[in-house]
Amino acid sequence: MYGFEAMTFNIHGGYLEAIVRGHRSGLLTAADYNNLCQCETLEDIKMHLSATEYGPYLQNEPSPLHTTTIVEKCTLKLVDEYKQMLCQATEPLSTFLEYITYGHMIDNVVLIVTGTLHERDVQELLEKCHPLGMFDSIATLAVAQNMKELYRLVLVDTPLAPYFSECITSEDLDDMNIEIMRNTLYKAYLEDFYRFCQKLGGATAEIMSDLLAFEADRRAVNITINSIGTELTRDDRRKLYSSFGLLYPYGHEELAVSEDIDQVRAVMEKYPPYQSIFSKLSYGESQLLDKAFYEEEVKRLCLAFEQQFHYGVFFAYMRLREQEIRNLMWISECVAQNQKSRVHDSVVFIF
């Protein structure tokens, strides 16, 4: 029903779209970031944030603040907003909203499994998990010894179960295959999400496929860069790329055989949307790539708000808030560790 969303969208989605747009207008602006970057102590940051929407979440924190507290409270706000929206949502928006959290679920699973492998305390690991990606039996992950058990014991009950079909092996878990598992899961998740959005159709499909394609391409680049110099074979590497996106399929072929960062760059520069990202970097540079990607992502996410009657705004809002929390974390860390000169290294202005 492309083009006819305007007639029916507001029946179920209108209220929540209004809510999410309201939330968006509460995002910190460049002026806020400028002020935050001038802060001398964490108290200053709290003081500044108390004038924003984070105020009620931070006001009851006793005085010696820590970066973790700030981040935790800010995340709590995001989670509260998410839960509120999820409560109000009807199908298919509620499924869409749930899809947004699967990425965090994958991260959490990997976090717990890696943590247990290195014999960390489960409770401590649970605290580090992103609250959006929590599910009931997450703590039980610690019991599993290999992929098969992981799947059979815990994940079969979670929405992640279908994504697991490709990585069930009875090998014991180690760092390498956990990382592969993460990427396989993510690939399956992105593809599934992509299919789901296509099924929704309309402006949602149009906007989400653009955003997800960017996500997939970014992951492909990251996988390539991270796997350079490891024992991951080219075929294995190719298997981790999602089967959609701008790079699919020819870019993937080339990425799979890239052996250093400059080759990756040569591949990517063939794609006009990514040219601008790479043109900012000097040759051989990969440190700033993350930031460049984040900036591009933020730009695209902001554009999602320019169109009405689609679900992409929810995805975009969640991502923007997460970016904002990352920014706050970075600023707080810099302030706490007296590294104020580095504040601007990783802060991505949203507006």
Partner: protein, 818 residues
């Protein structure tokens, strides 16, 4: 409200125009700054301007103090939460202005918080142990039952088995003999087990995971605990199940332990031995009672602490709030280069000058400061804030005006007239003295219990009604008045002032409805003659009367609006508006609708049968025709021609001269300064002129604006007059509705002569009267009166683009925080 001396004999005309304000500058020595601001806050008559708007909150001078206050406020919130949780309520505010030192309070708060946190931590620890023991006891009891029942069933089986054994061998006799089964304990697999509690909603998932993890090699037994158990970790009441898991092997044990941890299942050591179990139970019970006394003692101690905090709480809270606001204000002041004094700028009413100077002086003295604070008035072209001194009676009416827009500084305030016109227009639509009395009783209740009600929290709607109690009071009084005029009491007419002027032609009154009545007495002295009600011509008569009355009221109110625009232009010295806006507007409105009103009055006085519609319509269509039978007074035709001509002339009069004159004025200003470019003074004044005075002068814009204004007025004169007919329409609707309820419910029920039906009828009547007539009709009449004021009345003169005076005042701060 504050009493103040005014020269002259006239009563203060505070509400006519907003208070004269001036921008003042205070230069305060830094050592007395705090006290000065605090005294000014007590006074509450100065609105500080933020002179540091470009600085972020933490870069300002007193950021640290604000942080301290914020921290203290947090502690106080913590105390309040604790006190409320413990079930005390903070003591009622003691308004003793005891000198509390902020630093002392800060130290004290810190100590108290530390103490409270420690007590809480200890209490929590004890509570946790207590809860653990309570759970343990449950486990022992419930799991003990498993073992007990298992044992008895095993015994029963064994007995059965034994009895089978003793009997003859049959086909059912197991091949393995009993000896083989029981002996050889070394080979027997030792079953391990663990027992504990698991939250009930997780119990199914728990069982499933256990099953999966051990591939079914596990035996789980669960028992429901009836009452919710306090979870030792979270301290919340949770529904739980007691479980006992039996397993074999070390690996299974590890897995099960991990799963138990993951599910938040608390495990407890447990022994199979029944004797030991009994011993454990007594032991645990003993410790439980011991802990109970300790916890109770701790609670009493904590209660005492909270009680002492509660006594002081309001004072501290008060102090901290004030201090925080003082530092916020101090942050708005700019600091002098020498860092010896602070410079404040703010608006204050002119009359408050003396009080402010007094406060400054007192502050200097109390601080033993060497230097007095300096008070000086600045001259500025900025628009000052609008400040009306209202009291509890006038404030609600002023609110009605402010809701539309805050008056421009010193512009004529419609609020004064609203006090009378608003309730009156309402009453015209709500004319029924029975309903008026009901409203009056309701609002009198609010007014009598004013003191009590204003101190407590009411609901949203109640709050609004309570806030507007004086508006409602006047509304009800006026509706009683118009009710008498309409002669309606719940739609029943009364012969209140004398007998009806009319009587029947014959005794039986048989022709009253067809032929009519004859006038027998003098005209009914006040209001509508009751004989009209129920007659055939009731509606035509009342409609004609109310319609004409609405037009008269409307024209009068619109004229008042236009006259107020004259007072505005006179006050602001704007003669262009007087000559080219006020006068043509007056002429236009009155030559059409003023004339209509005059005709109405003449018709009423003379009892003429002229058709006014006809007169008005043909005044436009064919002004030169003979009027004929519709003639109301001699020379009517000439008068109409003149009026029509005036109306036509006044339209271009309104439209054309003003923009051209403004342009001329602007050009003249230009011309004045142009020949003196080299004089420094004129340069300065010109730059001032440019920066503050007229900005861009765009002739086309002014012209279009004037065009819109003129069209709006000309069309508005017609449509606004028509709009006043809502007075008639609503009044008609009101009286018809109440007639329906009276006749179709009350009288109908009365006719049945059945007690039950009568009671039901009365109940329905009361509900309908209260729900529909007293609540909904009041609301709709209120809204229409509001519209008539905002749109029809105020658009004639009211700019409403000012901003409110918002003084720095402790009274306001205290009010807000609650």
């Amino acid at each position: 409200m504050g009493e103040r001396g005014r020269e002259g004999c006239c009563p203060p005309m505070d509400l006519m125009r907003s208070e004269p304000m001036h921008l003042v500058q205070l230069i305060i020595p830094i050592e007395s700054a705090h006290r000065t601001i605090s005294y000014l806050g007590d006074l509450g008559l100065i609105q500080f301007k933020d002179l540091n708007a470009e600085k972020s909150p933490f870069q300002r001078t007193y950021a640290n103090q604000i942080k301290r206050c914020g921290e203290m406020a947090r502690k106080l919130r913590f105390f309040r939460e604790q006190i409320l949780k413990a079930g005390f309520s903070p003591a009622v505010r003691s308004v003793t202005e005891a000198d509390l030192n902020l630093d002392d309070v800060e130290v004290k708060l810190g100590d108290l918080e530390a103490e409270l946190v420690e007590i809480n931590a200890n209490g929590e620890k004890l509570q946790r142990t207590y809860n653990e023991l309570a759970e343990y006891k449950l486990v022992i009891q419930k799991a003990g039952e498993f073992f007990h029942s298992a044992l008895s069933s095993a015994e029963a089986q064994q007995r059965e088995f034994a009895s089978n054994q003793s009997g003859e061998e049959s086909l059912e006799t197991p091949l393995l003999s009993e000896q083989e089964m029981t002996t050889d304990p070394s080979k027997q697999v030792k079953l391990g087990f663990t027992a504990g509690l698991v939250p009930r909603e997780k119990s199914i998932a728990f069982e499933r995971i256990l099953f999966r993890a051990t591939r079914g090699n596990v035996f789980l037994k669960q028992a429901v605990v009836d009452n919710p158990v306090t979870d030792p970790v979270s301290g919340e009441k949770v529904e739980k199940n007691v479980f006992a898991v039996f397993f074999s092997g070390e690996r299974a044990k590890n897995k099960i332990l991990k799963i138990c941890d993951a599910f938040g299942a608390n495990r407890y050591p447990f022994s199979e031995d029944l004797g030991k179990q009994a011993q454990m139970i007594t032991e645990v019970s003993g410790r439980l009672s011991e802990l109970k006394t300790t916890i109770d003692a701790g609670l009493v101690h904590r209660g005492n602490l909270l009680q002492t905090i509660g006594e002081q709480f309001e004072r501290w809270n008060f102090l901290v709030r004030r201090e925080k606001s003082i530092y916020h204000t101090l942050n708005m002041l700019s600091i002098d280069v020498t860092k010896k004094c602070l410079v404040a700028e703010g608006w204050s009413p002119v009359f408050a000058t003396k009080q402010i100077q007094d406060a400054l002086h007192r502050a200097t003295q109390d601080c033993n400061s060497q230097v007095d604070a300096i008070f000086q008035v600045l001259h500025t072209r900025e628009m000052p804030p609008t400040y009306f001194q209202t009291n509890k009676f006038t404030s609600a009416f002023q609110e009605i005006v402010d809701a539309y827009g805050v008056a421009k500084y010193q512009e004529a305030n419609p609020g004064v007239y609203t006090i009378v016109t608003f309730p009156f227009l309402f009453a015209v639509m709500f004319g029924d003295w029975g309903h008026g009395i009901c409203l009056l009783l309701g609002t009198l209740y609010f007014i009598i219990r004013e003191k009590k009600l204003s101190s407590q929290k009411l609901g949203d709607i109640m709050e609004m009604t309570f806030g507007g109690r004086y508006v409602i009071l006047l509304m009800s009084l006026f509706s009683i008045y118009t009710g008498f005029i309409y002669n309606e009491f719940f739609s029943v007419p009364f012969e209140f002032f004398s007998r009806s002027a009319y009587s029947c032609r014959d005794l039986s009154c048989s022709e009253a409805t067809t032929v009519g009545l004859i006038k027998a007495r003098d005209t009914y002295p006040f209001g509508v003659d009751p004989a009209w009600y129920g007659s055939r011509s009731e509606l035509p008569f009342l409609n004609s009367m109310k319609m004409k009355m609405s037009i008269l009221l409307g024209v009068a109110q619109m004229n008042l609006g236009i006259i107020l625009s004259y007072f505005n232009s006179k006050f602001f010295g704007n003669s262009i508006n007087t000559w080219f806006q006020f006068i043509p507007q007056m002429i236009f409105l009155n030559s059409l609708f003023g004339y209509l009103s005059v005709l109405v009055i003449i018709k009423w006085c003379t009892g003429s049968k002229a058709d006014l519609y006809h007169v008005m319509i043909y005044m436009f269509l064919s002004p030169t025709d003979e009027i004929g039978e519709n003639q109301l007074f001699p020379g009517q035709k000439t008068t109409q021609l003149v009026l029509l001509l005036l109306a036509f002339v006044s339209v271009p009069w309104m439209l054309l001269p003003k923009p051209f004159l403004l342009k001329l004025q602007h050009d003249r200003h230009r011309g004045q300064y142009a020949p003196l470019p080299d004089s420094e003074e004129s340069l300065q004044s010109e730059s001032n002129q440019d920066s503050h005075g007229h900005e861009e002068f765009e002739f086309s814009e002014i012209f279009v604006h004037q065009l819109i204004h003129t069209i709006e007025f000309v069309l508005g004169a017609v449509s606004n007059t028509a709009s006043y007919l809502r007075l008639w329409a609503l009044s008609l609707a009101h009286s018809e509705l109440s007639t329906v309820f009276y006749e179709k419910v009350l009288l109908l029920a009365w006719g049945y002569n059945n007690v039950i039906i009568i009671i039901v009828g009365i109940i329905i009547f009361i509900c309908a009267t209260v729900g529909v007539l007293l609540v909904m009709e009041t609301l709709s009449a209120f809204l229409h009166a509001l519209r008539l004021h905002w749109v029809e009345f105020q658009n004639k003169f009211y700019e409403g683009d000012g901003y409110k005076f918002y003084p720095y005042s402790f009274a306001l701060i205290d009010y807000e925080e609650e």
